[in-house]
Every structure is written in structure tokens, then in C-alpha cells.
Symmetry: C2
Amino acid sequence: MTTVKYLAEPDLDKAHNFISSAVAQRDMIVMAVKCSVAYEGRGASRLGEGDRLVIVKPDGAVLVHRPTGYSPVNWQPDSHVITVEKQDGRILFRSVRKRPREVLEILISRVYFVVAIHGLLDDAEFIEYLDESEIADYLARHPDLIEEGLRVVRRERPVEGGYADIVAVDKQGRYVVIEVKRVTAGIDAVKQLHRYVEMFRKANAEAKVRGILVAPAITKDALSLLTSLGLEYKHVDVARIHKKAKQERRHSGSLSLLDFIGKRG
Amino acid sequence: MTTVKYLAEPDLDKAHNFISSAVAQRDMIVMAVKCSVAYEGRGASRLGEGDRLVIVKPDGAVLVHRPTGYSPVNWQPDSHVITVEKQDGRILFRSVRKRPREVLEILISRVYFVVAIHGLLDDAEFIEYLDESEIADYLARHPDLIEEGLRVVRRERPVEGGYADIVAVDKQGRYVVIEVKRVTAGIDAVKQLHRYVEMFRKANAEAKVRGILVAPAITKDALSLLTSLGLEYKHVDVARIHKKAKQERRHSGSLSLLDFIGKRG
DNA sequence: GCATCAATTTCGTCA
DNA sequence: TGACGAAGTTGATGC
């Protein structure tokens, strides 16, 4: 059963009592407040007084949001101890996390609104498509998209210090170490491929080993480094792969937006 | 002037009107709702029906939060077009972003609570301490903390494909490329330093070049790779540097937690 | 606008 | 639990 309690423009005494009991009951709490914020832990920060949205989740996660932007200005991923106390005509909301030790303090001077919701239930599955492993899976099943005649030896082959996405053999019998990226490949991707190729060469001293970086695009610097290292780049159209992969798995359940929502609604 | 409007357990017609007008007025909107979510854009995702907190900021940022965890399950950093329509006994909240084209759809089947706050004001400054550049700045001013007799040649020296944090000369006249990390250094940090050292060697063929990774800690694998590459590791106490740097700039204003909050309150 | 790098990154996964 | 790599990473800076 979901219950909702709220206060509009409460005085600080009332707000303090309300927030304290909501925290104790592990409610989802949302406050629009005027406050200052201080954080000490892995980093350290101070934020002067202003209007913010403060969210406290049932699991102790705390978020402080300014009126703009996607990301919270301060936060606590999960807090082990939350205390709410009156101090000097204000409310001091303090969230402490251990390991790593981090303290987030919100000094509230005014409460525009506060709402506490109890009993929110969410056990739905979250499904993501079009991630890197999905693309690598598809390419491993269809290596011709990378190079004609390629034969996949292994998917996610462990090499020292990581995993090569795909290891294959080309028409001339040479090993091909393949690194797949779903976004523009940068220097990091080249270094990663280079490292895997070197490790693979070390482990297979007699073999000829090529390295191919498969990505929808590559930065200029990365391409320059890649070629200077004797490695290769192969463009792939991610959207096309996503579409094809979707077709392949259409028997295992519909994935269209409306079908999905209709199924659950 | 800050104004607050809200509805508790409204029917969907009332909620639809309320949300529509709040979006039009660029209010900060917070809803506790039962909903399904679909996203298509750089990636793609589906989330079945469940209870969530939906936040719409005045700048068009949209966040969907489940009852647990720090991060939103779906979001839109800023949307150019937000539409709210009734559809089949539900509310379809749709946020579209262009460049990159991304669509976030929230299909709301029940509204537990919705609040719209108008006129939130937040122009306070956000100050961060203890970040990497601060540490590198301090070390560049006090290179003796890394090695006795070190003389700094340059801070943030551009090398091909990146920047070396510090370049110095040691007592024997050898170049020292220094990479600074403020958290435990991993394999990536080693690869980064190695790359800069190699590039620097290439550009200064005749010179002797050392490489030092400066960090509060280093992983076992990273240390192993580092030594095998002929590079060096130097431990630094980040907290101590932070403290000393704070002392150095104490003339430019107090930074203690209470002082800061007292100043603004 | 692109490229690069840090982040209180967060988040999964695997040894 | 620690280490390592990916992220719809985000965000800032330099060119």
C-alpha cells in the first residue's frame, strides 16, 4: 500500500519532525529547500546557499539537485547513518557513509515543500539493447561483416590483463585479434588492441598475428597511432547491426516499444 | 517569488492538465508515479511497470529514479521538446532531444503525487577541493616531495596524443616524465605514463628519460606492469598535500566547513 | 566542434 | 573484496 504525506511551507520545527520520522520509516523523501551543502570524503566541496531539490531514497541514497542539469551537485550513493537535527534555527541533515568514509551535510534554512512516500514498489526488469557485448556477439556470429573468409576461434579470449573481444583466423591462416567499440574509437581503444595483440603474440610466438579495431568511427589521432603500430581499422554501421540483431531475436519475444508497454500495462 | 502547487492521488485527467501546464511554465516538477519507460537513441532500453520518481527540471532535464540507487534508470540531459498527452487511459510523457536524436517515453498509469515548484533560484558558487589538478599544481611547486633535487621544466606538457602532468629534470640531468593520480593507480595509469614517456623519448632521441607514476596507491598488476616497463612509482599522501595546499592559500579566504556555511547563512 | 582526460565517476563482472 | 573495463557515461578544457 502506497501512502503519501506532505507539508507545504512548513516552519522548521514541523519540517524537522516530518523529515526525521520519514527517514526513520525509510520513505522516499523529496524536499524543495533553500540550503547550503558541504561534502568531505574522497573529495571535498562546498556549495553556498540556494534553492535545491533534495531526494532521500529508502535505501539511504541522497541526491542534491540544482534547478538545472542532469547530474546531482552533491550526493551519497548509500548512507549508513542519516541524522536530522535542529541547529541554530536551521535543519542540519547529515548523511554518513563508511568505507569509504564520506560525510554529506545539508544545512536547510527554509523548506518550500516536502513529501514522503511510503511503500513504493518496483520489481520490473530493465532491459538494455545496443551495448558493446551485443554488437560483439553479433559480429562473432557474422564475422564476414568484418572481413570475408574470417573464421572465429573464440569470443572473449582471455589475454594477460584483459579480454580480446574476438579472436579469429583469416583466409591465410593468420590469427586476427579483434577489438569492438560501439562508439568512436579513441586512443584508449588503440592502446587496448595493441596490448592484446602483443600479449597474444607473446603467447603464440610462432604465429602471425593481425589486429583489427572494429568501430563505427575512429579519431584522427587514434587512426594515426593505429597504423603506426601496424594495426587495422574496420568501419561498421552500429545501427545496421542493431537492426539485424533485433531481427534475429524477434522469435524470442517482441521488442517494439508499443508491444513492450502493452504487454506490461 | 517561489510558488508551490501540488496534487495528491489525482485522477489522470487532472494530473495530465497539471503536468502540461507545469511543463509549459518551466516549473521544477516531481512526480511519484507508476509507469513504464522506453528509451531510444544512442542506446535503447525498456523498463516494465513499477513505481518511480520522475523529475522534470526547468531546463528540460528529465530523470527517472527507481526507489533505490544513486543513478537514474533513465534520463534526458536536456530535452528540446516535451509533450504530455492522454493516451488510452494513461499519460504519455515524451521528451525528445536532437543532436543526438534521443527519445524518452514515460507511460504513466497512476499518479501518487505530483508537485510543481516555480521560481527556484540558485546562483551559489560550487567549490571543489582535492582534485587532481590541485595536487599536480602543488607537486609542481614542490617537486622535492616526489624526489629530492627535482627541477620542474613544465607543467602539463603536450605530448603526441595527450598531456604529461609534469616534466622535470633530475639531479643527473635526466628528463623525468611524471603522471599524477589522486586515487589508486591502475593499469590505465601505467599505460598512460608509458605512452607519454615513449612519445617524449621519440621527440628527444638523445635524452635519457625516466617515468614516475605519483599516486596514493597502486594496484598489484599495475605495479608489476610498471616495473616491467622500467618505470617508477612514488607514493604520496593526498590528504597531507590537500592540507598543505590549503595552508598555502589561506590568505585567499577561509575554507573550513563552519566558516563557509556561517559566511553564507 | 572535436579530442582528450578526470570523476566523490557509477556500474557490472570476475577472480 | 579488489581489480578491470564499459558507460545512452558526464563534464571541463584546449585547440
